[in-house]
């Protein structure tokens, strides 16, 4: 059924092809038309599977999935340092499933996420019967939620931030290379790490099979204390994240779901 739905969208909805084109032309440069169409179908089909899983997760709970977390001991060792832990992830796989599995780490988890009116998709846990596996911090809140983020880290908790999209559009980005061209990535996770001494773990969740997900610790980033306002001071850390994300999409090309032109270079709004 999902196969035909994805096929319909790819064949009869040009906007679907357009929105996936930006990423696919960079991930698979020079593909001829039919191969490109097949790529578009594959990424749309994968997205469809994720949407179904997300609905199952919301209705029936995480018990419906087998979720493996490689690097759990590594994350627990980082937490034991007592400075909190910043998890930087991306719009890959099904992050809702990933978040539901991180509770096993112990400390409370907070996710930096923009809350929108009627956006059931993003905070659908709140509409379920059970408790949400994570708290949320709104980047549109007072001072971009930074004080809340600091507090959570000071309490030794886990803070999860998307490293591949800017939240709130405050221009806190640096330009780094990703799949051959510059994109602007947020540097706030690394600034927080610099201010608090919290370690950064780059994690990527991906669908590893029917009803199963894996969560991979791709990289640990240590950010030293950096004073001053220059965003460029944080460029090396955002670049490390971009390299890790490139490695992820090399391995899982159809599980990267940024359906917009992230290569459209934009000057930061200052």
């Amino acid at each position: 059924m999902l196969f035909f739905v994805a096929l319909y969208y790819v064949l009869f909805r040009p906007s679907i092809r357009e929105r996936s084109r930006h990423y696919l032309t960079r991930r698979f440069p020079g593909r001829p038309g039919l191969a490109r169409l097949l790529d578009t179908f594959r990424i749309s089909f994968e997205m469809g599977k994720i949407l179904v899983d997300r609905a199952v997760l919301g209705i029936l709970g995480p018990g419906e999935f087998k979720i493996s977390l490689s690097g759990r001991k590594q994350l627990q060792a980082l937490l034991a340092e007592g400075r909190g832990l910043i998890l930087v992830t991306a719009h890959v796989g099904c992050w809702q499933v990933a978040m539901s599995s991180l509770g096993a780490l112990g400390p409370p988890i907070s996710l930096l996420i923009h809350r929108e009116e009627g956006d059931v998709d993003r905070h659908f846990f709140e509409h379920g019967a059970g408790p949400a596996p994570y708290a949320t911090i709104d980047p549109a809140g007072f001072l971009g939620g930074t004080l809340e983020m600091l507090q959570r880290l000071k309490r030794g908790e886990v803070l999860c931030i998307m490293g591949d999209r800017v939240m709130g559009g405050d221009g806190s980005t640096v330009a780094v290379d990703f799949l051959g061209s510059a994109v602007r990535l947020p540097f706030s996770p690394y600034k927080l790490a610099s201010a608090t001494g919290a370690p950064v773990a780059v994690i990527f969740p991906y669908k590893s099979g029917p009803g199963s997900y894996a969560l991979q610790v791709a990289k640990i980033i240590r950010v030293p204390g950096i004073s001053g306002k220059s965003p460029e001071s944080f460029h090396p850390f955002a670049a490390q994240f971009a390299v890790a994300l490139e490695a992820f999409v090399a391995e899982h090309p159809y599980q990267f779901f940024n359906f917009f032109n992230m290569w459209e270079y934009m000057e930061p709004k200052r």
């Binding site: 004080l147 507090q151 201010a195």
Partner: protein, 84 residues
């Protein structure tokens, strides 16, 4: 040196407010946005600086919301905590 003077010195020197001297800073100017032009990520640094220089931890959002209005508000918050 008063708390207000010390704060202004810290803001200029440690948050790299170029083109400003401590004397240029209006006690009532908003710290963020218009005013001194600090952004949300500067708030992170400011929290750390207050802990470093005054030994104070801004414990919750309500405290931060009140204290981060202006230099005068932050100075009063620090004095209140130190003398309270």
């Amino acid at each position: 040196m008063t708390t207000t003077e010390k704060l202004k010195k810290i803001l200029v020197e440690e948050l790299n407010l170029e083109e400003l001297t401590p004397a240029d800073i209006d006690d009532d100017a908003p710290l963020f946005g218009e005013g001194l032009g600090l952004d949300s990520l500067d708030a992170v640094e400011l929290v750390v600086l207050i802990q470093k220089h005054f030994g104070l931890e801004i414990k919750d959002m309500d405290e931060g919301r009140t204290a981060f209005q202006s230099v005068r508000a932050l100075s009063a918050y620090i004095d209140g905590r130190l003398n309270g």
